[in-house]
C-alpha cells in the first residue's frame, strides 16, 4: 500500500538537492574555526550559507545565528533574552498557544528562575487577543524582557498578528517562532520588525539537526550554551558547515516555490476540508475563520478519541497526527485547543492533516475515501468517560477529588 503522508508539519521530505549538497559537505574535512586552509574552506561554505540565508529572509548575515534546530532557537530567544535583561525586566509574556519550545521554556523561567510569566489569551479561532496584549503592556511593558508570539500556530495553522504585536510592543523585545510559517507564507525579517525569529531546517526539506535564530544586532541575548564563543559569542558549539549549507539551500528552494505552493496547497486543503465537512457529521475545521497556513487542516471530531482515529487512518495507509503528538507518552489534550475554549473531551478529539511539497490530489482522495469509515469506527470505540463509568461498588470518583494530573508527554513533535 502506498502511504499517504499528511504530517508535513511534523517533518517533511528532505529535498534531493539538499541531501546531495549535505552529503558532499559532510565529507569535507575542516573545522570552520580553524585558521588553516581546511578550516578556511569550511568557513567559506558556512559564511556563504549565512549570506544566502540572510538574503532570502530579509536579514543581515550578522543577524543569523545557526543552531541545532527550532527548539534551541526558541530557547535561546526566550531564556537568553530573559537572562540578558535580568535585574531590570523580570517578566516574560507569551501567547497561550505557543509551541512547547517557547511555552515550557517560559514556564521553566517562572518555576526555576523567578520570572513573572503571563500567558496572553487567544480568541475562539486561536488568534492572539490584541486587547489582552494591550492591557498587559499597559501595566507591564517596562518590566517585560521578552514577548513571544509565534508567526503561525503548529496545530491550527492560524497566523498570528505579529506585525501588530511589534507595533504595540514599543521597546519590548519581540520573539516569533516562525518554524511552521517558513516556506508557506511570505517572510521578511527586517520588514516584520521582530527582535528575534526562530526557524528549523527539517520543516522545509533540510535534515533534522539544523536551524537558526535570526537576531537583530541590538537583541540582548545571554548564551544558553557555553563554550568556544562561536556565533557572536551567543551560541557556542563547533560550527556545522554542512548543516548550514543544507539549511540555506532548502530555504532558498522553499522561498522560490512559496507563492505557487501556497496557492496549490491552499486549494488541496480547501478541497479536503469541504469534503470532510460534507461527509462526516459534527466535524469542525478549526481556525477556519482565521488566516491560516495553506497546508494545515485541524479537525475536532466529537465522539472520538484522536488516537482511535489515527489508528484507523494508519491502518488505511494515511499518516496524520493529533493536535500535539507524542512518541512515548500519552497524547495530552492540546493546550492550544484548551486556550481556544474547548473542553478536554473536544481537545482530545483533534486530528491534524498537514500538506506539503509531495502532497497530491490522490492523497486528498484517499483521505476522503477512508476517513468517514474510520470516524464511524472510532465513534463506536469511544469509551464512556468522566463520570459515566462507575466502580464495581457503584461509586463514582468522589466529588471534589482532583483529577489525576502529571504529564506523560516525553517527546513532542510539532
Amino acid at each position: 500500500m502506498t502511504a499517504t503522508y499528511l504530517d508535513h508539519a511534523a517533518t517533511t521530505v528532505v529535498r534531493d538537492e539538499v541531501a546531495h549538497a549535505y552529503a558532499e559537505d559532510l565529507r569535507r574535512l575542516g573545522n570552520p574555526s580553524s585558521v588553516h586552509s581546511f578550516g578556511r574552506e569550511a568557513r567559506r561554505v558556512l559564511e556563504e550559507s549565512r549570506e544566502q540565508l540572510a538574503a532570502d529572509l530579509g536579514a543581515h548575515p550578522t543577524e543569523v545565528i545557526f543552531t541545532a534546530g527550532g527548539t534551541e532557537a526558541d530557547n535561546l530567544a526566550v531564556v537568553g533574552g530573559f537572562h540578558a535583561a535580568r535585574g531590570t525586566r523580570p517578566a516574560v509574556a507569551i501567547s497561550a498557544v505557543e509551541h512547547h519550545a517557547v511555552l515550557d521554556a517560559a514556564h521553566w523561567l517562572g518555576s526555576a528562575q523567578g520570572a513573572e510569566v503571563t500567558e496572553l489569551a487567544v480568541d475562539r479561532e486561536g488568534v492572539l487577543d490584541l486587547d489582552a496584549l494591550t492591557a498587559y503592556l499597559a501595566s507591564a511593558a517596562e518590566r517585560t524582557a521578552v514577548l513571544a508570539v509565534m508567526w503561525a500556530n503548529n496545530e491550527t495553522g492560524a497566523l498570528q498578528p505579529v506585525r501588530e504585536v511589534v507595533a504595540a510592543a514599543g521597546g519590548v523585545a519581540v520573539h516569533t517562532d516562525a518554524v511552521q510559517a517558513l516556506g508557506h507564507v511570505p517572510l521578511d525579517f527586517a520588514e516584520i520588525g521582530v527582535t528575534t525569529l526562530a526557524l528549523s531546517g527539517h520543516k522545509v526539506g533540510a535534515p533534522v539537526g539544523v536551524g537558526a535564530l535570526l537576531a537583530r544586532r541590538d537583541a540582548a541575548l545571554a548564551p544558553v550554551l557555553h563554550g568556544g564563543g562561536q556565533e557572536r559569542g551567543i551560541r557556542s558549539g563547533t560550527l556545522d558547515a554542512a548543516g548550514a549549507r543544507a539549511l540555506a539551500l532548502a530555504v532558498r528552494l522553499a522561498v522560490a516555490e512559496q507563492a505557487s505552493e501556497q496557492a496549490r496547497l491552499g486549494e488541496l486543503r480547501d478541497r479536503l476540508q469541504a469534503g470532510v465537512l460534507a461527509a462526516i457529521p459534527e466535524v469542525s475545521a478549526r481556525s477556519a475563520g482565521a488566516d491560516r497556513l495553506p497546508g494545515h487542516l485541524l479537525l475536532t471530531i466529537p465522539g472520538t478519541d484522536a488516537d482511535a482515529v489515527l489508528f484507523g487512518l494508519d491502518a488505511a495507509g494515511v499518516a496524520a497526527s493529533s493536535g500535539s503528538a507524542c512518541t512515548a507518552g500519552v497524547t495530552q489534550p492540546s493546550h492550544v485547543l484548551l486556550a481556544m475554549g474547548d473542553d478536554v473531551r473536544t481537545a482530545r478529539s483533534a486530528v491534524r492533516f498537514t500538506l506539503g511539497r509531495t502532497t497530491t490530489e490522490a492523497d486528498i482522495d484517499r483521505v476522503l475515501a477512508v476517513l468517514p469509515g474510520v470516524v464511524e469506527r472510532a465513534r463506536a470505540a469511544n469509551l464512556p468517560r468522566q463520570g459515566a463509568s462507575v466502580t464495581r461498588s457503584g461509586q463514582p470518583r468522589p466529588a471534589g477529588e482532583p483529577a489525576p494530573s502529571g504529564r506523560g508527554r516525553v517527546a513532542g513533535v510539532r
Binding site: D307, G329, T331, A381, R392, S393, G406
Partner: protein, 365 residues
Amino acid sequence: MKVLAALSGGVDSAVAAARAVDAGHEVVGVHMALSRSRAQHRNGSRGCCSIEDASDARRAADVLGIPYYVWDLSEEFEDTVVADFLSEYEAGRTPNPCVRCNEHIKFAALLDRGLALGFDAVATGHYARIVDGEHGRELHRAVDSAKDQSYVLAVMGRERLERSLFPLGDVESKDVVRAEAAARGLSVSAKPDSYDICFVADGDTRGFLAARLGERPGEIVDSSGAVVGTHQGAYGFTVGQRRGLGITTPASDGAPRYVVATDPAANRVVVGPAALLSVDEITGGDVVWLAEPGPFQDVTVQVRAHGEPVAATVEVDGGTLVARLATPLRGIAAGQSIVVYRGTRVLGQASITSAARAGAVGAVR
C-alpha cells in the same frame, strides 16, 4: 484473526505477542497508559506504568515488526481500579487491584475498544490456559503452577474468554519465556519480573492510602474491647496481618496477636490470637461463572493470588456462593476473590464478603 496484543513492556507480553504473530494472526501491539503521573524510569520491581516500560514495549513491537500504539486508559483506570482500591480499603476490605484491572480494563475497556476498531481478540502475557471443551471454551490453570494467574483472570466471564488469547499458558517455566525472548532478539528478555501494585509508586500501600484518604487516627482494641494501641487509619490494616501493628501492651498470655477484624464505622482495629482467624465457611458475592453454575461437590477453592487450593463444597444462591472448606484457613480478608476449581479448570469466582468458623460465636468479618 486480527489480534490486539497488550504490551506492558515486560518479557511475558512481548513473547505472547511474538507467539500470536507466529500463529499467523494479524497482530497490533498496544501499550496501555494507566497512570497519569508516570515515572520516567522503572523503580525496582514495579512495572507497567513507567515511560521506560512504554519504550520497552515499543522496542518489542519493532523487533516483532508489528504496529504499535499507546492507548490512554488512565481515566478508566483511575475511575475503576484505583477508585475501587480506595473505597474497598475505606470500607475495611482488602481489594485485589489486578482482578479489578482484568475485570474493568484489560478484558473490558481494552477489549471493547479493540472489538469496535475491528479486532477479534486480545492477547496478553498471562499464565493461564484456554481449552476448547465440550460446551465452549474453558479457563484452566497454567502448566507452570508457580506462575499460574488463573486466579486473577476468573473474573472475566465466559463471553470475554471467547475473545482472549493466552499464548504463554503452556510454557513450563518463566525461564523458557526468557530464553525464547533472548532467541527472538527481544531486549526485555532479562528484565526483572514486576510485583506489587503498579500504581503505588514506591510499594508503600499504607502511605498511598494515607495520601489519598487522609490520616484517621483511632484505637486498636483486643476482643474484650480493651485499648492496646493506636493507628493512623483503620483502612491500612488487613485481616490476618501481624506486623506493623505497633501494639504497646503485650497480650496476657504472651501469644502473638493478629488483626482479626477492622471496623471502619468505628475506625477501630480489632486484634486477637491466631485461633480467631481460623475459618471454614466463606461467603462471596458478585459471582461470575465460567461453567454451568453450581452447586459443586469435590471442588477446590483458592482465596488469594498465591494461595494453595483447598478442598471444599460450594452452594449457590443467585449471585452469592458459600464455600465450606474441608480444612480451615487462616486470615481470610473480605474483598479478595474466591475462585472455584475442578482440577485445573476454573468454574467461577466471587468476591469474599465474609468468612466464619461454622457454628462458632466469634464470626470474623
